[in-house]
Symmetry: C2
Subunit: 548 residues, 2 copies
């Protein structure tokens, strides 16, 4: 019998390929790498977030040997409760990642039902046919790892989310020696982070932000509010150090950030000198030039701290002229409009706002082109698989790999849901596994599908009209039809239009002499046509025919 | 009596300040500069576009001496039909701008009712107290002008949309001599384009694109599709020249672009050699390496040519591997997600896609910081008013002006709707005029207001439920309540939820013994609470109580 091939499957139907979840399979053994959420696109109306559809794995649960989480960001951890409810495999994560995951599992009341093991770079963990060796790589959160996966067919290197930061804020630079060692052992395939494949050059070090912050702190005469991601522990560390250098105390605003700071402190990933931290509610009593507030909300979310400041709705903090707001984050694609609107509102309230196009107050956590090239040349893989990016980024990353001499047929660009099959000779794109992505809306998971979203789009476009039509036993309208509308017109300004609708109903119903169901459809059709001809809009029309 | 002050009012409630429309007033005389539309933001559900609210002008119509249009882009011309229907003032525009405007007025059946005058740089036009002198400035459309406005209090210089392109594709560089002359005469106030106030350096010349295009044309082995704005006449000229250099013919796809090309050719703004143009439907018969197709749809609009290509729905053109698509435009803020989705879909169809982050195939039409500084130093105005930008851009532009030595109290940053008052001594921000912006949705203008949009948001978030509850004369539910939902749940998958809703209705209604109106509200409340507790979502609930 021919030996089996390696199968690698990025799961989920949209978004960045293999970012949120992927599987590596050989024979009877499956390991899952990451289990994260993605954020809805602007036209996924009303959706809170999206999780990968892992139905493909449901009849293979018993073969899942491990779920390995590379780092503690939401897009790599957020779907874990949903996955674990159906596939209770043991979870492996580094200490900080584990701390952040445990908060989630506790909220989901799963903490006592799940096995979690702390891993360290350099460990060698055997899962059936696989031996997994996590190795240290820099990113925008501490305790981030890439994975070397030894398989019967050869060594797979997975970059994780990475950058080659020579002067990181936390811990050491990426473990170049380890990468060279993998190269020496011979690498069958490299899976590498494509996020910044369209950015030339080298991503700046986290450390370069210090100078920009010092400059802002030197100039600011009032309070400083620094907004960043709740999980950007190293940025919080940098602001803390800067606050101390400039004689300011620091408050943390935003539940998720408070929680992350607590965990990071407990686990020794955040070093805050005694006396530095104060409560947000106590900052009002202090001289403004002695205060820094760290806040959430860099993506323009109205309910996060920065959104509430922009709207003047925060419980403890009110912006005043003289305040300086630093947006220490870049908008996630799709959020640009909300972010810019928030910045404009902060300006309206009199604050000065600094963001990354006008001051170097943020750097990306992902490798740019030259770093991507370096990784490929350090590892010298036989096959190259760009992951973590939209299709356009993967294609660009594939071009880069080809420029470095990897043959075109040794590079595989796939989208989520496609099976990559490889052995020592070739890499091919196989079937597409069933599934896609799953909407999470309120407490419901997967009940909201594309059909419901299409209805929401229609409702959102032109609103609704409900017509209640009372008819008597002779089939005539017996009373004034009631017209209710939402999202269509302002009833007060549209008396004439509504009266016209009533006349149309009466004309079409009287003497129609049909079943209530046929009558209902007739009224809906007549009203739709009437509203379109009068307004060139198409509200959803519902008629309720009542017999009197 | 003190002499009156100059009043400058940027109109419209959101978007870029003074971009779409502004007025300059002195005593009894008013001139309007531009009358454009803006595109809705992502959460303005169902809105086609937005026009400035000019109600402030309605009781002053007779004082409006002129409407001067600086150039032919939609955000400066698109609202003209709406304005002219209410304020029939004479319109002044350069030849190409006039040609583009006339298409619009013809469609609106206004062409014969409006006076339009062609103007040229260097003309001096007197409108009451004002003498307006248009001057040539470069932008991404030919025949673009800035305006020098001589007033009884001094000279106002309005930059229009501008860049300092030393090697423009069309016509001459910006008229530096004229700007120096204004400076010599003494400039009271400069109003200047802030679009790129957060971009350091100097915007690249249109001409620099030629090299990037030549490179792509040299490498491409199949068809080339170049997508750009329908009004970017100079880009069309550049692609035409490049097509000729590389032995390709050119087709134009997209109604608006076809129309613009026709007008630009007629008026001599586009020089296309005989035999270059072919029809899109004829390109399929030609060898792919001999074809260039210019197309609309760079903003991800699904109904434009590029959107239809991405979805495989274009009548004449089907993308195949080997095709190269050049996105020669930058996403307008807010469109990033749609644009990136379109690019990904084009890749999916096998095309290679080049866009501005990976190849220099587009340049901005607006001045960057060094050009903005140069304009200020050329003109040396007493007062500085940043316009054409979001608040964050104006604030940045104001910082730049301050760095150049303009005193802070000589710089006025205002948002749309605020009155700027100036005389020879000072500039102040006065009252806010009534108005804001007006939604255009279908054929209705202004009937859709914020309340309607809020309803659409609620509908879009969680959908609707309509419950029809038949009750008998004893106040008991007499038949099975009917539950209709849209955008909330998929009814087939939610039998249990719906049955629970019925039970809740029956429990709450039976014996309630109240008026139908009170009953209706009771049912709506009970159902809302029930759905929230079951799903953590809040659909809009409507109850219709029918007596049987």
């Amino acid at each position: 019998m021919a030996s089996p091939k390696l199968r690698i499957i990025p799961l989920g139907g949209l978004g960045e390929v293999g970012k949120n979840m992927m599987t590596v399979e050989y024979g009877e053994d499956i390991i899952i790498i990451d289990a994260g959420i993605m954020f809805p696109e602007n036209d996924m109306l009303g959706i809170d977030f999206i999780i990968p559809d892992f139905q493909y794995l449901l009849d293979k649960k018993d073969r899942v040997r491990a779920i390995i989480i590379t780092h503690g960001h939401e897009d790599h951890t957020g779907a874990l409760p949903y996955v674990l409810r159906q596939i209770n495999a043991p979870v492996y994560a580094t200490a900080l990642t584990r701390g952040l995951i445990e908060v989630k599992l506790k909220q989901a009341k799963l903490l006592n039902e799940v096995s979690i093991t702390t891993i360290r770079p350099g460990d060698r963990l055997t899962f059936g046919a696989f031996t997994v060796e996590p190795y240290h790589v820099c990113h925008s959160i501490p305790d981030n790892v890439g994975l070397a996966i030894d398989t019967p067919l050869g060594l797979i290197v997975h970059s994780g989310d990475f950058k080659f930061d020579h002067t990181p804020v936390h811990g050491k630079p990426t473990d170049f020696a380890k990468l060279a060692e993998f190269s020496g052992r011979g690498v069958l395939a490299l899976l590498s982070d494509s996020t910044n494949a369209d950015r030339p050059g080298w991503t700046r070090s986290e450390r370069t932000i210090d100078a920009a912050f010092d400059e802002v702190f030197r100039r600011a005469s009032g309070r400083i509010i620094v907004a960043t991601f709740a999980s950007l522990i190293s940025r919080i560390q940098q602001v803390a150090a800067c606050a101390q250098r400039h004689g300011r105390v620091m408050a943390i605003a935003g539940l998720s950030m408070v929680e992350n700071v607590r965990i990071a402190q407990e686990l020794g990933y955040l070093d805050l000198p005694a006396g530095l931290l104060v409560k947000p509610e106590d900052t009002a009593k202090l001289p403004p030039e002695k205060v820094v507030i760290m806040a959430t909300g860099t993506q323009g979310e109205p309910s996060a701290v920065l959104g509430r400041l922009a709207h003047g709705k925060h419980r403890w903090i009110t912006l005043v002229p003289g305040d300086t707001v630093i947006m220490s984050a870049h908008p996630i694609p799709g959020n640009e409009e909300m972010v810019h609107r928030t910045i404009n509102r902060l300006f309206q309230r009199g604050a000065d706002v600094l963001y990354d196009t006008i001051a170097p107050v943020h750097v990306s956590g992902h490798a740019s082109q030259e770093e991507q090239k370096l990784l490929i040349n350090l590892v010298r893989p036989k096959f190259f698989i760009p992951i973590h990016g939209e299709l356009r980024h993967l294609k660009q990353h594939a071009k880069i790999a080809a420029e470095l001499g990897i043959p075109h047929d040794h590079i595989a660009v796939v989208e989520n849901g496609y099976v990559l099959e490889l052995d020592q000779e070739s890499i091919t794109v196989g079937e597409r596994v069933p599934g896609g992505y799953v909407f999470v809306d309120g407490s419901s998971v997967g009940e909201v599908g594309p059909a419901v979203i299409r209805d929401r789009e229609a409702l959102a476009r032109d609103g609704i009209v409900i017509a209640v039509v009372p008819i008597d036993s002779t089939g005539h309208v017996s009373d004034r039809p009631e017209i209710i509308s939402r999202g269509f017109i302002h009833p007060r300004d549209s008396q004439e239009l509504i009266e016209g609708a009533r006349q149309n109903i009466i004309r079409s119903v009287n003497g129609y002499g049909s079943s209530p169901d046929a009558l209902r459809m007739e009224v809906e059709e007549v009203l739709s046509a009437y509203f379109y001809s009068e307004t060139k809009r198409r509200p959803m029309v519902f008629a309720v025919v009542t017999k009197t």
